[in-house]
Subunit: 217 residues, 2 copies
């Protein structure tokens, strides 16, 4: 059974991992006969957003602790991830990917990526293991692997596509049901809720990405 690591970024689209994307990733991995093992960094969230109102709440929440909600408690500290025992890696989207795993939401193409996320992505990539990036998470791939001219998709959003190209990567347009493999690499991406428009369409793209990651693993 192939073992695929999943990096979560909190629990909720506006300040953490997009919940549908994370759950659909776990579902597709199970259906593909792969084992999912979840990780998250043990850091404070950038902030906490009230998902009813969109307003910031005067609270502090921990990314690892909140991510545990998505995987029923079965989660490990990202500091402990060891690429050698896994066959692939997937990073779902949601603002948490752009606020907690990196600061793209605030710095755009000038963003920095969390050190543990850098180490994880680079170790899987150097080991020739597939990595899947959903939704906004491809900006992390652009920042870390843009120098290789990797091809990525976030769907069709012009501003984000321009940022991805500014970081050295190539953006390719795709539909929500597509998963794009960067030629000559094992880097896979799908637009998910960067395009939407509904959970059924997003599920198809995530299933395509997961199946491709498992196939390449």
């Amino acid at each position: 059974m192939k073992k695929i690591a999943v990096i979560l970024a909190g629990c909720g689209v506006y300040d953490g991992s997009e919940i549908h994307e994370a759950v659909l990733t776990l579902l597709a991995l199970d259906r593909a006969g792969a084992e999912a093992i979840c990780f998250a960094p043990d850091i404070d969230q950038h902030h906490v957003i009230n998902h009813r109102t969109g307003e910031q709440m005067n609270e502090t929440r921990n990314v690892l602790t909140e991510s545990a909600r998505i995987c029923r408690g079965a989660i490990s500290n990202l500091a402990s991830i060891d690429a050698s025992v896994f066959d692939g890696l997937i990073i779902p989207g949601g603002f948490g990917a752009a606020k907690n795993l990196c600061n793209y939401a605030f710095k755009g193409a000038e963003c920095q990526v969390n050190d543990q996320v850098v180490a994880a992505v680079q170790s899987f990539h150097k080991a020739g293991k597939p990595i899947g990036f959903l939704c906004i998470a491809p900006v992390i791939a652009a920042k870390l692997l843009g120098y290789e001219g990797v091809e990525l998709t976030i769907g069709s959003d012009a501003a984000t596509a321009a940022d991805i190209e500014a970081m050295g990567a190539k953006h390719v347009q795709a539909s929500v049901e597509q998963a794009i493999v960067s030629p000559g690499t094992k880097i896979v991406s799908t637009p998910a809720y960067m395009l939407g428009p509904n959970i059924g369409a997003v599920a198809k793209g995530i299933e395509a990405l997961v199946n491709k990651v498992v196939e390449l693993a």
Copy 2:
């Protein structure tokens, strides 16, 4: 397009709605061609559980605000639900169903159900509209509709089955992939994570339940 109301109970298996069950309900409704509209009561959670450690946290969270994370903000106050504009109702499981929507987790067969949940279940039932209960949520059906001898399943857990019978309902054993319709009614139940053991198996039972609710709607 049939409109199905979904009542959430927070965001996370130990103190709110079981996230996989809620998301898989939304996915199955979309795939069945139905529209999902989410509701939750505007009340404090019974408590907040750290999902890594299982320990209680010294925090207060609101059921409606946290539930909004599961549906990307598209949620309404349960106080405003009007059965006449919907074709059916579904209540996912997780401890939130037994701690926030009722107090079964603490009182067993002597539990009380939240007034707004009582009103919602009774209004859909009296209007002859289908209601689906997942996981532990059938205890709510047992409490409110047990006097009719309704048939329910929570899988095979003996203690919970005994409580369901103590409330006047009949418990029937079922596998995780089954959805049970109580004879002569439109009350549907499936064990979900009361049995598990994994997201793929749970998804099959939830899809069966959702398809049955939509068919009966």
